[in-house]
Subunit: 415 residues, 2 copies
Amino acid sequence: MKRVEILAVGSELLTPFFLDTNSLFLAGRLNSLGLEVSFKTVVGDDEDDLVLRLEEASRLADLILVIGGLGPTADDRTREAASRAFGRKLISVPEILRRIEDRFKRRGLPMPASNRKQGDVLEGAEVLTNEFGTAPGQWLEWNGKSIIFFPGPPHELEPMFDVHVLPRLEPFRRGYLFHKTLKISGLTESAVEDLMAGLYPVDPALEVTTLAKPGQIEIHLRSLSSAGRQEAESLLRPLETALLARLGENVFSVGGESLEEVVGSLLRSRKATLACAESCTGGLISHRLTNVPGISESFIGGMTAYSNRAKEEWLAVPCEVLVESGAVSARAAESMAAGIRLAAGADFGLAVTGIAGPSGGTPDKPVGLVYTALAWENGVEAVKNQFLGNRDQVKFQSSQKALDMLRRRLLKIRP
Amino acid sequence: MKRVEILAVGSELLTPFFLDTNSLFLAGRLNSLGLEVSFKTVVGDDEDDLVLRLEEASRLADLILVIGGLGPTADDRTREAASRAFGRKLISVPEILRRIEDRFKRRGLPMPASNRKQGDVLEGAEVLTNEFGTAPGQWLEWNGKSIIFFPGPPHELEPMFDVHVLPRLEPFRRGYLFHKTLKISGLTESAVEDLMAGLYPVDPALEVTTLAKPGQIEIHLRSLSSAGRQEAESLLRPLETALLARLGENVFSVGGESLEEVVGSLLRSRKATLACAESCTGGLISHRLTNVPGISESFIGGMTAYSNRAKEEWLAVPCEVLVESGAVSARAAESMAAGIRLAAGADFGLAVTGIAGPSGGTPDKPVGLVYTALAWENGVEAVKNQFLGNRDQVKFQSSQKALDMLRRRLLKIRP
């Protein structure tokens, strides 16, 4: 096995509005076999273009995954193009037609005539059953190349790949992949790089990639072993352990969880309750927390106090705090955190106030200045932050910082 | 001009974690010249693979836009690969080196030796200045093909394209494109299709694409004229007018605005104020509204009343409503809307309560059952909705429905 190509078909994928995302799924599955993707190509529904790219792919790659163009409409030309590119006749398979007719029958509909062509299969190709749609997949062996055709809808492609294709790719396996993602908050990318100094592996079976995302740094770790998945995991462990020792509590997740999921679990395990008071984040912290199923056990509610009036009346922020220090100040943030904690009768009160931009900044209080605060039974603390970026980015980083303050405090409280 | 190919370079674009998004920008710009993209290709940093794909692209396409691989590291091989593919020597250009050194000098740093190779240009290629980074672009004419090399970071590529490339693509122009997007709320995709019956254009210069997105339908209209942009606009107008007449107030935006932006403008122009009470949306409505700059004039604040306690204490929802009808009921939604309106002293109170899932559903009140309510000076109304999808999708559709209720009422109120 030398090269793998993913070829996505569809004119909409060449517009400014759409990207092919099936290739992300397929790349992940191929990686699990130790296979890397060499090329990804997108071509429209033009049959001549499609023939060109199928010929190309079968010249440059050895395993080719073709996505889409198997629908019933006149635009769907993958079957016809493949027939031309590989010199194989299209043969109508009665059994497939029966399956398609059955699908329509179960919904009480006659099969439209246009669907007949979905029963056409390349001569010599093996049919891959589609449990969730009308278009079957096809597996063609041609001149020593394996060319596999998939329908485009992800809910049809993904189970088809996992059930009918993945097990049959075993002979192509180059190894067993194990991967883990460390997510880090509260450190800059360069601080993470400094802490990782000397830990970058020399072993080519280990791979480390550091990604800076808004409000968090991710370290993607991958190991490949020819012996098995457990061996790949063992191979990775010393590096993972060393990284965790260096990065300590800055790592908030090793299993893919988001920060709000981690905070949700910590609250639940400690039977602690939370309420939020938000100004510049405008409900984003609440929104993120309530994306976590089961959070209603711990999350009492939140207030978006966007106006001074709401800050005073809902959160009991004293008027003199707003007048003397302003709504964007450590005092206001602390007062909001204490106020929401009291109003909700919660164990923790989390608050954010700041200037998300694009306007509203002053030399003293520039855009991106955000105070995050946490109130608990015995105290309250506020942190001053200066974030960069547009309104969205400032909102997200602020919510991340606030959730991280809570996470760090929860880690110091035994359940 | 027959075919255009966009070739993106970078091994990270072949992993499960990243997609090339520069091609969306480039496709939009090419479309404005009446040019369609024929192929998009992604290749990793392997020099041999890159040579193969560059040769391929120059064989199949006439205009080739190559993105990335122009950085200073050992991984950046686009220059070397192009040199091999097109048989052109790399020549170090002192003027480029001086520019790069200057960039470092302004930041008080010496230029690392690795950056020297960014001064290398293919023999005969024209240099495209990079105002926002170190790697210049290159424009190579080769065997009647135009091959243009861009740096990968969008903030470097986009201005380089607009300033140095777009004006020079005039000779390739196939026409003038005009496009418009109608965004629709409150109708299903099939209802929109029914209303559009007979309006699909036969003129090949007009193109209509309907997209169903969560909580809204979009109709993308495009027209192409060889005479000019205004002519293209005129060409589209009859269709646009007919569609607007059929779809009426269900169209909430014709200029690209989001529903929260539309609601924000309507509130501002009517000098009306708003507050929200959210249960299952958990702050999402507040979050969406506060993504709109300037919303603080109209948006007083919101409460996420996730617990019954918060509903009673913060929003004055009567205990008997919660006991008799439950928190997910029309009565509770109306009471929340009226409660937040009063608590905030706002003109409008918007409320949502429902079951976002994945658990919490019963036969009587299944997952996806959501009540949205609006309170105003003279009344309150609640709507019962049954949404499909996962937690995220139910939350989003609920927020969309609530914002749309407010939009429709605001449209009936003269400013």
